[in-house]
Amino acid sequence: MLVSGIKSRPEYHGLTIDPYAKRRLFVLGGEGALALLEKPELKDAHFRAKAEILYVPQGSDHAATLRAVGTAGYWEAPTIPTLLVRLQVILSTAHMGLRLYAAGTEGFIGQVMQVGADAGINFNSIRTEHRGSLARRVSCVHCKGITENVTTSPAVCSHCGLTLLVRDHYSRRIGAFQGVCINAEVPAEIPPVEELFK
């Protein structure tokens, strides 16, 4: 059971390359590496000279290929939080003319966009491409805890333990989908669990 047709559901239109950016920052997670590696622009030395990559492999094996591309910068993070800190530091001293690109799972993109927006970037100007699993970052509306990598609905909140219906209702501010208790009236009633976000 998925509540659909909700406007806040993000759309990812792909890593369209802005022709005039002075500096392009590609923030990639896991399979998101392919979104950049498949770009024909990578063959252009001028393009590579203005491109920088922040990558968190998340178990994928694209790190060596990405590093070998020869962009102006390449930095590999062990985890998403460490990557986000690095991103924050880069953006805090960046200037207009920088273009931010993000590719990976929805949860990853959402967190990159949060950091981008915090640095003053208009979220509409961030180019995004969804790659890899459909797993969601879910925010429990009851305890406000965030559960990562949710693949089912309903799903159990990793903080308060309530059984949550995962909705398409999305918050850019917290970079997560909304989870609402599905059995508040009759707690004993647990609806069948569907694997919707593999």
């Binding site: 005039y20 950016a21 200037h95 207009m96 640095a119 970037i121 208009n122 509409n124």
Partner: protein, 326 residues
């Protein structure tokens, strides 16, 4: 039905502020506060008078609100006496006296300050300064980060430059007097601006195009580039318009817009800006045996090619008959 609310106002003061610019201080007739507005808003001013031959005429022009958005007790607008006027700006300059009444629409904002922006750069040419006066007042009251770059022909043509520099300081208010050979260094301005900077341009079309292009070429995203320009409805040869639903047909005069001709026949059509910017007066075209001359900057190229839509505030028609779904 148009959704337009009317606010009758009285002209409380008229102040000449530059060679061809007058400021009008407007208060509501019933003494109640006018609606709050946000910096960048404009109102459509309806003026009723008589033409040279004594026949009644109605002029409607959009003017940016330049008074403080935090003060609904009065509004201020500044009117440039346009050389090639269709009547409205000359009426405001030559006929309107203190104590006269005018009708204002609700304020509409097609040029708002981007609230999530970190820094705001305003670029004004001539009378294009007016929306920025309200924007800067609003930003100053919340400690916003902004700077103004204001160009004018001569010190006597430029309005408000002295007061603005006194109020906000020469660091924030940068003046460029064309007559003294001062030019803005655009490339320098666009370089090294912090992330989250927004650029706002208001002035002549060529100036807007120039700064917009420069910002794009400097890698600024579209989302951070804002501009506003009201077009006066251009004149042209008269043409025949038929309104399908109202079952009426009439000629649109040389110096008249379709919207004005419709209003002259007491038919109520939607409008907001009357300057080709807002999209409110978009009208479906039933048939047109001729060429629609799109003068707005609202419709997309696809819209124009479809031949099914027209902005009746500024666009014209060349051919036999234009049939509108009104």
């Amino acid at each position: 039905m148009s959704k337009n609310v009317e606010h009758p106002v009285e002209v409380a003061a008229i102040t000449p502020v530059a060679d061809t610019v007058k400021r009008f201080h407007l208060v509501s007739v019933d003494g109640k506060p006018l609606p709050y507005f946000s910096g960048g808003s404009h109102v459509v001013v309806t003026m009723r008078g008589t033409d040279a031959a004594g026949a009644p005429v109605v002029y409607r022009n959009p003017y940016s609100l330049m008074s403080s958005p935090n003060d609904p007790g009065h509004y201020e607008i500044s009117v440039l006496r346009v050389l090639d006027s269709r009547g409205g700006s000359h009426f405001m300059h030559d006929r309107v006296k203190v104590g006269d009444r005018l009708i204002l629409s609700n304020p509409v904002n097609l040029f708002p300050v981007n609230g999530t922006g970190r820094k705001h750069i305003f670029v004004a040419g001539g009378i294009g300064i007016t929306p920025f006066m309200a924007m800067m007042d609003g930003l100053a009251s919340v400690g916003g980060n902004f700077e103004l770059h204001y160009g004018f022909r001569s010190r006597s043509h430029g309005a408000y430059w002295r007061e603005l520099q006194e109020r906000y300081g020469a660091n924030r208010v940068n003046l460029y007097c064309e007559g003294e050979g001062q030019m803005i260094d655009v490339d320098h301005l666009l370089e090294h601006q912090p992330l989250g900077t927004n650029l706002y341009i208001c002035g002549p079309a060529a100036m807007i195009a120039f700064f917009t292009d420069k910002a794009r070429l400097a890698g600024w995203p579209e989302e951070n580039i804002h501009s506003e320009q009201f077009l006066a409805p251009p004149s042209g040869k008269p043409f025949l318009v038929r309104l399908q639903k109202s079952k009426i047909e009439f000629m649109v005069g040389e110096h008249q817009s379709i919207l004005e001709a419709i209003e002259a026949h007491n038919i109520d059509a939607n409008f907001l800006c009357r300057g080709g910017a807002c999209g409110q007066c978009e009208t479906s075209v039933c048939s047109a045996d001729g060429e629609i001359q799109h003068n707005d900057h609202y419709l997309t190229d696809d819209d124009r090619q479809s031949g099914k839509k027209i902005m009746i505030c500024v666009s014209r028609f060349k051919g036999g008959e234009l049939v509108l779904d009104l």
